[in-house]
Point group: D2
Chain length 345, copies 4
C-alpha cells in the first residue's frame, strides 16, 4: 500500500481528497494536517467520515510528514505550500501540490499576479499536472503542480483547437461560472447562504489569478504567447464549473475540423467525454467525478467557435485530478479510486 | 382610473403584471384571461393573491377585452398575440404586447427565426418599448412591443458604447445567464427542481430567438448592421438575468470614455443605476424591481470592455417594463407602481 | 410625517424595516445606526437601496436618536436593547423593540433562558406586539416588544384553539422550519452556502429561547401554564417559516369546531388568511408580506389536530409586524406600508 | 457474477440502482427496462452514464427478464409491480421490489390505502427488507419488499424504543421532511424549480400512504397495534430525508436508557450511525450513502423523547437498501457496492 498524507485537510479540497482516497484500492492515508483543527478527529469535524476515517489533524511538519508517507498532497493556501514543499522533497517524498505555487513556470509572472516566489529553482522541475498533455513527465516527477479548477476547464476546451491552428489565439474569451465550494470553506459574507441564493454575479473581472495560468498553457499549444479574457462568475450551487469559451475560427475551418480535432485529441482519454453533435453538457452530469465533458457549436454567422466545458470543481478541478496524478506517478491505473458514476440528482 | 386587462395571465409574467398592477395608484384591472385556467379564480390558482384580487380567468376574446378595458397587456405565446392584437387595435384599445410578435421590424427576419408573420403591416407601427431610447414614440403608440428579457439586459449594456463609436460592433459577445422563471411555468423535464439544482448549462447556443432582436437594436445605435454571439445559460435560481457583454475597444478609447458614455446616456434615467468604479452588480440587488444595474471593466491587456448588466427577468425583463410603457403611453409618472426597493435577501 | 429611526440597521431585519419604511406613506426615516458599519452609506453597503435611501450609519446614541425621531425601532441583539431603551423612553420617544428583551413578562424566566434582566421594571409596561390579540394595549404603549418569528407562527396557530378549549394544552408540539435569514447575517460556518445547501437539520432541540415566549402567550389563552415541545429546523432557503403544530383534540371536538374557531378569531383580521378546507399553505405564498396563512387537518384516527402556519420570517416574523405595531401606536391604518402582494416566484 | 435486471429503470430510483450496481464487484447488470424510454440508450438518456453503461431500455417482459437475470429489481409504480412479479417468481428469479405492493402484510390494509390487491397470497411470503431487523428472513426470501423512504427513517428511530417499552406507542408523531427527488422525475407543476425554491410546505397530512407501513412495523416492535401521526413535508433540496419523531417517555425512563437502547440495537450495525450526545445530524452527512444517522434529545420538561433521523431518500430510502437486500439474499458482504463516503458538500 502506498502511504500518503494530506497537508491542509480541513477544507473542501481536503475533504474531497480524503473521500476519494478512503475508497482507493492501493492507498493508505497515514496523516492529515490542519493548523486550525489540530487535535480534532476528522469524523468529529466532518461526521460524514464516521466509519471511514478516524485520523486526528496534526501540525503541518515536513519531518513528520516525510516519516509517515511516500507521497504528500499539499492542499494549503498559496505561499504556505512553498514553505513546506522543499523540506518534503529533500526527504525523498514526492508531492502533488494543489496550491498555485508551482503552476507558473516564470517566477516573474508569479511575482506579478501573486507575490515574490521564494523557491524559483523548483519551478523548473515542477510538472503541470494535466494528465492528457503531460502524462509522461508526470510519471517521473517529484513535484506535480495540480492545475487550477478554472484553467482545467478552459485548457481542455481550447488546447486541441490551438495545437491544430483552427482558431485565432488572440480572440479567446473564457466566460466561466463556478459553484460556491470553489471559494473554499472560510468565513466570508459573500458566501453566506442568503447572499449567494438568487444572487448570480461576476467577480475579479480581468484580474483573476487563474488568467496567467490559462495563458501559459494555451501558449504552449499555440506555439506563441496568448492573451485572453477570463471572467469568473459565482453560481448559487455547491459544485461544478461551466466554462463557455469563445474564439474566432481561422478561414476555411468548419464544424467537421473542430469535431475531428476533439476526437483525435481526446478519443482515447479516460476522463474526457465528448458530447454528441448539438448536445451541450450540464454540470450535473459530471458531479462527483473526474470527467470533463465537452460540447461545442460552430456559429457560421459570426465564424466563431463556442465550446462549453463542464467539470466538478472539487474533483476534476482539484482532488480527483490530484489522485489521477498520484496514480500516474506511482504506476497505478489512472482511474484507480476514480471509477464512480457521476452523482445525479 | 385606467381600466386594463391582461390576456394570458396564468404564467409567471402574468402573475408579475397583476402583482404590480394591484398596487398601482391609477389602474384598475378589469379582466384577466387564460385558456387553460378559464373559470378559475386567480386567488385559488395563486393563493398569494388572496385579499388582493378575486378576478376569474376568462376566455381570451378581443370584443370582451375591448369592452372592459382601455389598454390590454398581451402575455400570450408568440403567434397567439398576433391573432388577437389586430382586433383590439380596431376597437380602439391600446396594447402592450409581451410576446415577440412585434419586436422585429423586418417580417422576413421574423419569418426566419419564428414563422411567417400574419400581420406584417402592423410591424411598421409597433414601437419597441425600451423607454430609455424610445420614450417619445411610446407616448403616442397604439401598439408597444415590450422587449425580451435578454435583449433588455444586453441592449442597455451596449447602446451607449455603440452610439458613441467606442467599440467595434463586429466583436460583441453577449454571454447571458437567466433564472428559471424565464423559461415559464410550463411542464418540462428540464425545469424539474432536481434537474436544475446543481445543474448549470448553456442552451440554444447560436440559435436563440433573442439574437435578431438584440442585433436589430444594436444596429440602430451602431448605424449599421451588427452580428453578435449570444449565448444563454440556465442558472439554478428563480429570478434574475446577468449578461456579461464583451467588445473590443476602438483605438484610443479608455476607461474614462466608457464611464462618461454611461453617465451621459443614463445619468438621468430612473431605472438604470450605474455601479461605482470597480463594483460589479449581482442579480440580488435588483430582484423584484424595474432597475437595470450596470458595472464594467476595461481590460487594457486585451483592449476589451466587459460590461455586466443585471435585471430581474420578470420585472425589468417583462412585466415591470410593460407597466412602465403603459405609464408613458397614458401620461402617468414613469415609476408609478414601480417604486419598491429591490427584495433582499 | 412621522420621524422614525432604526437602531441596528445593518442586518437582514434592519434591511427589511428600511425597505418597508422607504415606501410607507406617512413616515420619514431620520436615522439609522450600526456600530460595525458606522460612517458607511446604506446604499454602498446594500446597493439595492440606491435611489431609495442615502442615509449614513451612525453610532447608536439615545440622545441623538431622541432628537431626530418620534419613534425608534431597536433591531439590536438582546441585552443591547435594554441598554438603550430606557434612555429613549425617558426622552419621550416611543419604541418598538425587535429583540427578545421585553417579550417575557417574568424577569426570572428571562434570567433562566437569557441572562439577568437589568430593567425588570419596564417588563410590566411593555406590550407584547401581536396585533390580533393586543391591539388596544399597543395603541397606547410606550414600549412594544415585537414578537419572535417562531412564536408568531405558533401562537397564531394555537391561540384560537386554546381560548375555546378545543385542545389539550399539555399535548402541544410545535415542529418549526425556518429559512436561513432567520439566523441573521453574521459570519458562521453553519450559514455558509455549501453547508446549508442540501443540508436540512434540526438545531437547539428542547432548548431554543423562543420556547418560553410561546409558552407564556399560549398560557394566556389557555388560562393556565402551558409547557410545549418546540423544535426548530433550518431549511435551505432564504426566507420563510412553516410551523407544524400538533395537539390532541378534546373529546367531542370536530373539524367544524376547529374551522369555526379560526373563522371567529381571524375572519376580520387583515393579516391572517385561512386556507380553504383541505388546502395547506406554502411559505412561497406569503413571501415578502405581513400575512400569516393557516391550514389545518383533523385526524380522526389519532384525534389530533395538525395546523400548518406560514409566515415570512423577516416580514411578519420581524419587520413587517414591527411596522404594523408602529401604525397602531400612531393611529395610522394597520396596513400602511404593508399592502404588497406576496412575491412569487 | 450475479446477473441482475432493473425493471423500471428510467426514474431517479432506477438511476441510483444502476449507479450503485455499475461499481458493484460481484454484479453484472444484464437488462434495464422502461416502457416510456424503450429503445433508447441509457447514456443518451442520462449522459452521466457515458463510459459506465450502454444498455438499451427494453420492454418490461417477465420472460425476457427471467432469461437474462438471477435477480430483478422492480422499480415500477405500485400496481405495476404486482403485474410482473408473479411471473418472475414462477420462473425462479428472485425479486427485490421497490414499490409498495408487498410491504403491507394485510391485504385489507393495502386495499384501504392503495387499491384491491391482486396477488394477496404472495403477501405471506414477502419479507419486509429492513436488514437491521429482518436479516435472517431476507437471506432466504424469494421476494423482498424494499421499505419506503419515510418508513425507513421513522422505523429505525423508534423500533429500539418500542421493543424495550421505553415510550408510549400511542403518542408517536413523525414529522418528516424530504428532498424533491422523493417525488420522482415525472412532470408535475409542484416540482417545477420555481414552485419548490423558497416554497416549503406540508402535503398529504394525515393521509400519506406510508402511514400504514410505519404503523405495521412499529406495531411489531410494540407488540400491539400502533396508530401514529405522520406528516410529510417537501424541502427545497434534491436529496435527503429528516424525520423528527416525538414520543412520551414512560415513567422512570431517562436519557441513559434511551442511549443504551440505541447502542444495544445498532451498535454493531454497518449502516446505522449514532450521533454523540447533544449532536444532531444533517441530511448532508449521509448524502449518497446507505447510512441512517440518528440523534436524539430527552426533554425532561415535557417528558418527551425527540429523535431526528437522517437518510438519503434515494440510497438508504430506496436503491442502496435494495442493493443491501440483494447482497444478503445472495450471500455477499452487506456493504458490497455501498462503501462510499457520503458526498459533501
Amino acid at each position: 500500500m502506498l502511504r500518503v498524507a494530506i497537508a491542509g485537510a480541513s477544507g473542501y479540497t481536503g475533504f474531497e481528497l480524503l473521500r476519494i482516497l478512503c475508497a482507493h484500492p492501493s492507498v493508505k492515508v497515514s496523516t492529515i494536517t490542519s493548523r486550525q483543527q489540530k487535535g480534532q478527529r476528522i469524523d468529529d469535524f466532518y461526521p460524514a467520515f464516521k466509519r471511514h476515517c478516524d485520523l486526528v489533524f496534526e501540525e503541518t511538519d515536513p519531518e513528520r510528514l516525510a516519516a509517515s508517507s511516500d507521497l504528500v498532497f499539499t492542499a494549503l493556501p498559496h505561499q504556505a505550500s512553498m514553505d513546506i514543499i522543499p523540506g518534503l522533497l529533500e526527504r525523498g517524498v514526492r508531492v502533488v501540490d494543489l496550491s498555485a505555487d508551482y503552476r507558473l513556470r516564470d517566477p516573474e509572472v508569479y511575482g506579478k499576479w501573486y507575490s515574490k516566489h521564494r523557491t524559483p529553482e523548483l519551478l523548473k522541475e515542477a510538472v503541470y499536472g494535466l494528465p492528457e498533455f503531460y502524462r509522461e513527465k508526470i510519471r517521473s516527477a517529484r513535484l506535480v503542480a495540480n492545475p487550477g479548477c478554472y484553467p482545467t476547464s478552459v485548457i481542455l476546451a481550447m488546447a486541441p483547437m490551438l495545437s491544430r491552428g483552427l482558431v485565432d489565439p488572440e480572440t479567446i474569451i473564457a466566460d466561466s461560472k463556478s459553484g460556491v465550494s470553489g471559494a473554499g470553506r472560510g468565513l466570508d459574507l459573500g458566501l453566506h447562504f442568503c447572499e449567494v441564493n438568487e444572487g448570480f454575479k461576476a467577480y475579479k473581472v480581468a484580474e483573476h489569478r487563474h488568467t496567467p495560468e490559462i495563458e501559459q498553457e494555451l501558449g504552449v499549444f499555440a506555439g506563441r504567447p496568448v492573451t485572453i479574457n477570463f471572467t469568473p462568475h459565482l453560481v448559487p450551487m455547491s459544485r461544478g464549473i461551466l466554462s463557455t469559451v469563445y474564439s474566432n475560427l481561422k478561414p476555411g475551418v468548419g464544424a467537421l475540423d473542430v469535431e475531428e480535432a476533439f476526437r483525435n485529441c481526446f478519443g482515447n482519454e479516460l476522463f474526457v467525454r465528448l458530447c454528441a453533435p448539438n448536445q451541450l453538457p450540464t454540470t450535473l452530469q459530471v458531479r462527483g467525478s473526474n470527467y470533463c465533458d465537452l460540447g461545442w457549436k460552430v456559429d457560421e454567422r459570426t465564424r466563431r467557435l463556442i465550446v462549453t466545458s463542464v467539470i466538478d470543481n472539487l474533483t476534476r478541478g482539484a482532488s480527483g485530478q490530484a489522485v489521477c496524478n498520484m496514480n500516474i506517478m506511482c504506476g497505478l491505473p489512472e482511474d484507480d479510486g476514480l471509477k464512480d458514476v457521476p452523482w445525479q440528482p
